[in-house]
């Protein structure tokens, strides 16, 4: 018995040593943690249950049979984050550059299958040079097995990817199909084809960082949701983030103790919206003053900042927040902001997270670049997402809600459960000036008449009461009471039941 235990210890040690001290040191030198160290930060201390520590690859080409390291470049298993069950795989760059072999893929698939069966999230910590070339098509098959599981798990369990090293070629498509992607600045990058190929094909010279670094993907492409300074920050923020998500679509999002009173009044909100309707204000101030502890976990803050998306809590329970941001492009909807918000709304709907929408939208951004890039379809995505969502939906119109954008932004007509308007809200087809110039287009030269009609229009339509008289909004509320009114509405909607007609799946305008 003793010998066997000794042998077990030796085996384990081999696996734990991974690629050896030299490679570990080199990983550390780059400011990167090893696969196991990352798990130590991510999971609650001492909760990690590792599987498949002894798995080895089966390749014999190119003398690979002489190089075998137990674990084969990925650490897999499960544990808890703040006590909640979470599956995790963490690629080990010190072992064959974290490259994906057939058995490496099998390890990942094994925990993904189990996670799907038991209904718990999967977190992938990606740090891999790509396919294990020596294995050829077997490695590609491995990727596809992972992809297939990503797709089947989508909308059933939350899947989160953290890119903590290279992630290139086909490898990017697994993270791409997960719900959220986090990146680490300067040490991670993602692209389909790397700088060398780019140079050969297009003669374009571009660095790894510029082509697919964290800044590129959080600002330009919108592929990633957040970028962090280093591994430690990324993993700690991921722990915090996981606190907003239920384990699966069969569970309600987790709640926790909140000391923040549900009826907290914020008098300063009464002066948030400037008197001048063309003057911007910071919608984030409203969000932080409404949610518990002013704690707003914003996603994609640097991408399409004319719309804000993120999580907060109300009396301890998570909510998803979508809000137009008047500080950027007057808060209008465009291609990027529509896609950004649509994906977020669909995530919330998948996982039973109520959606609160703050509306101050002057309309869709006009222009050829918008039309040529398909604002019709992209705008439709957001409309589709809000319309199909069956979770509790609460909408607060703070100022402008004009035109089609009013309909889109979680309006009453799209099965919005509760719609509130602030007293200064203007719910109309368009702004007074534009409207008058169309209705009285024959009088455009007559400034006096146009001004008079504009004022008339403003008095008549630029208010929340017309919409109120039709029941399109449920109440006009004093801004300072916004938190209280939302909290009550959420309580009222706690047991909301609504389902869409049976279908194989919908056909969202992709």
């Amino acid at each position: 018995m003793h010998d066997i235990l000794k042998k077990l210890d030796e085996k384990r040690k081999l696996a734990i040593d991974g690629g050896g001290k030299k490679r570990t040191d080199s990983q550390h030198k780059k400011g990167k943690l090893t696969a196991r160290e990352r798990i130590e930060v991510l999971l609650d201390p001492g909760t990690f249950e590792e599987w498949d520590m002894f798995v080895e690859h089966r390749c014999s080409e190119f003398e690979m049979d002489k190089q075998k390291i137990p674990g084969d470049g990925v650490v897999t298993g499960y544990g808890t984050i703040n006590g909640k069950l979470t599956f995790v795989f963490s690629q080990d760059f010190t072992v064959f550059g974290g490259s994906l072999s057939e058995s490496h893929a099998e390890k990942i698939c094994k925990i993904m299958d189990k996670a799907l069966q038991v209904g718990a999230p999967v977190i992938g910590l990606n740090d891999s040079g790509g396919a294990r070339i020596q294995e050829g098509v077997a490695s590609l098959a491995g990727y596809a097995e992972v992809f297939q599981r990503n797709v089947l798990s989508s909308g059933v369990i939350p899947q989160i990817s953290v890119i903590m090293g290279p992630c290139a070629g086909g490898a990017v498509y697994s993270p791409a199909m997960t719900d959220f992607i986090f990146m680490v600045r300067d040490s991670s990058y993602m692209f389909v084809t790397g700088p060398d190929v780019v140079k050969t094909v297009t003669h374009e010279e571009v660095s790894h960082e510029e082509l697919g670094g964290a800044s590129t993907h959080t600002q330009k492409s919108g592929v990633a949701d957040l970028a962090f300074e280093n591994d430690i920050e990324a993993l700690f923020q991921l722990r915090r983030f996981m606190g907003f998500l239920p384990s699966s679509n069969k569970e309600m999002p987790p709640n926790r103790v909140s000391e923040d009173p549900a009826d907290r009044l914020e008098n300063s909100l009464n002066t948030l919206v400037p008197n001048n309707t063309n003057q911007p204000y910071d919608m984030k101030e409203l969000i932080t003053k409404v949610v518990d502890d002013r704690d707003f976990f914003e996603l994609q803050p640097e991408y399409a900042p004319n719309i804000l998306t993120g999580f907060g809590r109300m009396t301890g329970s998570p909510v998803g927040i979508v809000a137009n941001q008047p500080m950027v492009l007057a808060g209008c909807l465009d291609n990027n902001s529509s896609r950004k918000a649509a994906r977020f709304v669909r995530f919330c709907d998948c996982f039973n997270i109520p959606i609160i929408t703050f509306v101050d939208v002057p309309g869709f951004l006009p222009g050829t670049s918008q039309e040529y890039n398909g604002i019709i379809k992209h705008g439709a995505k957001l409309l589709f997402a809000f319309a199909e969502a069956t979770v509790p939906k609460i909408t607060i119109i703070t100022r402008k809600a004009y035109g089609g954008a009013y309909d889109v932004m979680s309006s009453k007509h799209l099965r919005g459960d509760v719609s509130f308007a602030w007293p200064h809200a203007e719910i109309a087809v368009m702004g007074p000036k534009g409207a008058v110039e169309i209705i009285f287009r024959n009088d455009i030269g007559d400034k006096e008449k146009i001004d008079k009609k504009t004022n008339e229009y403003r008095d008549r339509f630029a208010n929340p009461f017309i919409a109120g008289s039709r029941g399109f909004i449920d109440d006009v509320i004093i801004p300072s009471t916004t938190r209280k009114r939302i909290c009550r509405s959420l309580e009222m909607l706690r047991n909301k039941k609504l389902s869409n007609p049976w279908k194989k799946h919908d056909n969202i305008p992709l």
Partner: protein, 662 residues
């Protein structure tokens, strides 16, 4: 007595006057500009009237608009506050011409004291001591020697056309006079094209001390002692106190006597302030007389228990002074700190914006005169003073300590403020010893003040509070629902509090018997008690039974803690995570000295240099317009322009790079 007064001012002073008027049963009228539609003084007054305009010129300085408002609201009298039209004779006269009362001194007193030369002459007539010297220009070096001997060394030679220190020379001994005289003349000529200079007594380590006087229309006068106003930044008072720790009874009496004599000579009534400069041998010299309520009047009110605004109103309503000099008693020590919306680490540039979060300190020793609430806008149109935080207690030492504590629990978000700078000043050793002059700020803070100074060492209290806060957050995080069984969630007791250069080990446990948290730090044991509400940005805690306040913000395990004017950025980690954290690369800080960055959000209206151009220190590089104000950005040192990133017409965010130097 009046039944309604109009306050021709805004902000805290308008609120201040309204408070007294209300106490006296007098109705109040606030006037306001467009920019002040939602301002606090408007909310507090019984009536308000929008006089339009945005700038001061278009509103609070527009005499006709205000006179119209007085008529329209049928107010009996006008209180001008300070600043704006408070020392404008024309305004006072127009009020009297429509048969209303100007709450302030007689018209002649305003005009005499408003004139530097006339006021000095009158002061001389009243036997008030004035700075020895001769305002007439010096003809030659012999003249200069003669004059200097009469005045007595040290003397200062000043350019008649001068300003900004140019053509100014201080001379301590006669042997240096000739050389200094010549260089002063040369400099005056080259700077102003005018070589006339004059000689005055040079006051060493001057203090700025002023006497508050009150007179009625029946020839009765009293003084309310002095105020020490030496802590100034570019002639802007920052901290004032009463009494002055430098002034003894004799000095007070003789200054007050001269102040009252001067007031009598001009037939003064209402409240007035005679300002003196005092040298280190307690010689004092007249500077000027302010014929209005001073910003810093609260410190006098606190130590005398009198309401100066009330007395001003009563005097204007033809009442006699209700008290004699012997009724005026001085109790304890009062300090006022002026809270400005400005950036003390960026050359005190005004900071504008909305007060996104604002919590005032409240307590029995605290008087806070403010005209803002959470959500108020600090606009670029007016003075960026947010409030005046005043402390009154038995003695100066205690007031200083209470001031530090009050600043610690004064939360202002949305704009930068000088709060931390003020806190550092009152903790300064020289300030505590009352050993300072008007040079105090330029001596101790030549570069301004940065609360995140890298040399700040972590102090025990901050380490303890960070451990406590982190532990509280973790306890709550562990309260989340849907946890699985069999994985017992243990919250570690051992923590590392880490900054860029420091690491401290703590151990925290909850003591359910006395509801304290016990923390061990460096083998010392501390007891912490606090009913802090998670998420609240201010923490009040008893640490070893000493009440302390902290301002905190949190982002995961990252915290920033502000305390006593310093801000610490730190991270709290378990032992193992701390080991791993040590592997993280230190991010190289961008060398900002190579960049010209926009100090504020604004519009780039011009760039004066080209790429490859050599520039000299002080040379204008670019102009950024922020809210209609043009700010010229100058080179800090000699350099060569490497690259220009922005073009004219670009909107810039704060710290955006405009130019890179080689």
């Amino acid at each position: 007595m009046f039944s309604k007064i109009l306050i021709a001012n805004r902000g805290e002073i308008a609120c201040r006057v309204i408070k007294t008027a209300r106490k006296m049963g007098i109705k109040t009228v606030a006037i306001h500009s467009e920019a002040d539609n939602n301002s606090t003084h408007v909310m507090h007054a019984d009536e308000s009237i929008n006089i339009g305009g945005l700038t001061s010129q278009e509103s609070y300085l527009d005499i006709n608009k205000i006179i119209d408002a007085v008529k329209k609201t049928n107010s009996d009298a006008v209180h001008p506050g300070y600043g704006f039209l408070s020392e404008n004779r024309d305004f006072a006269e127009k009020i009297e011409n429509i048969g209303k009362v100007f709450i302030g001194p007689p018209l002649d007193a305003i005009s005499i004291m408003g004139d530097k030369i006339r006021s000095k002459k009158i002061a001389k007539e009243a036997n008030v001591s004035i700075i020895p010297g001769n305002l007439d220009s010096i003809k030659n070096i012999n003249d200069a020697k003669k004059e200097a001997k009469v005045i007595g060394y040290p003397v200062i030679i000043k350019a008649s056309a001068g300003g900004g220190g140019k053509g100014m020379r201080v001379v301590f001994k006669e042997k240096d006079l000739e050389q200094s005289y010549n260089s002063a003349i040369n400099e005056a000529r080259s700077s102003f094209g005018d070589e006339r200079v004059f000689i005055e007594k040079y006051i060493q380590n001057p203090r700025h001390i002023e006497i508050q006087v009150l007179g009625d229309k029946f020839g009765n006068y009293i003084h309310l002692g002095e105020r020490e106003c030496s802590i100034q930044r570019r002639h802007q008072k920052v901290i004032e106190e009463a009494p002055s720790p430098f002034v003894d009874v004799n000095l007070r009496e003789s200054m007050a006597e001269q102040a009252i004599n001067l007031s009598k000579l001009v037939g003064y009534f209402s409240a007035g302030t005679v300002e003196f400069v005092v040298d280190d041998s307690k010689n004092f010299y007249f500077l000027e007389m302010n014929t209005r309520l001073q910003v810093e009047h609260p410190v006098t009110e606190l130590i005398t228990g009198l309401d100066i605004v009330e007395l001003m109103i009563r005097i204007s309503a033809d009442e006699k002074l209700p008290i004699n000099q012997k009724d005026v008693q001085f109790n304890g020590a009062a300090i006022e700190a002026r809270i400005y919306a400005e950036d003390s680490k960026r050359n005190f540039l005004p900071s504008i914006g909305r007060l996104t979060r604002y919590i005032e300190p409240v307590g029995k020793n605290i008087r806070l005169d403010s005209g803002v609430v959470e959500g108020s806008e600090i606009s670029m149109y007016y003075d960026p003073m947010i409030s005046k935080l005043c402390i009154h207690s038995e003695n100066r030492e205690k007031s200083i300590n209470l001031m530090t504590m009050a600043l610690d629990r004064y939360l202002i978000n949305g704009v930068n403020t000088n709060k931390d700078f003020l806190s550092n000043i009152v903790q300064n050793h020289s300030f505590k010893k009352a050993d300072f002059s008007t040079n105090f700020i330029s001596e101790f803070y030549p570069e301004g003040y940065d609360s995140e100074n890298k040399d700040n060492k972590l102090i025990d209290e901050v380490i303890l509070i960070a451990t406590f806060i982190h532990y509280k957050y973790l306890l709550r995080a562990a309260s989340i629902s849907n946890q699985v069984k069999g994985f017992q969630r243990l919250i570690p007791n051992d923590w590392n509090v880490i900054t860029e250069d420091e690491k401290h080990i703590t151990k925290i446990t909850y003591n359910s018997y006395n509801k304290n948290y016990d923390i061990i730090l460096n083998k010392k044991y501390f007891k912490i008690k606090s009913d802090w509400q998670i998420g609240f940005p201010l923490v009040a805690a008893l640490i070893e039974n000493k009440l302390l306040y902290f301002e905190i913000s949190r982002n995961g395990p990252y915290y920033s803690v502000s305390h006593h004017g310093n801000k610490y950025n730190l991270i709290v980690l378990s032992n193992r995570h701390s080991e791993l954290n040590a592997l993280m690369l230190k991010r190289k800080e961008k060398d900002t000295s190579k960049f010209l960055m926009s100090p504020m959000p604004g519009l780039l209206v011009s760039v004066m240099v080209k790429e490859g151009q050599k520039v000299q220190a002080g040379e204008a590089l670019a102009v950024v317009e922020a809210m209609k104000m043009e700010n010229i950005l100058k080179a800090e040192k000699d350099a060569i322009v490497k690259e220009i990133f922005s073009k004219v017409g670009d909107s810039l965010i704060v710290d955006q790079n405009i130019i890179e130097f080689e």
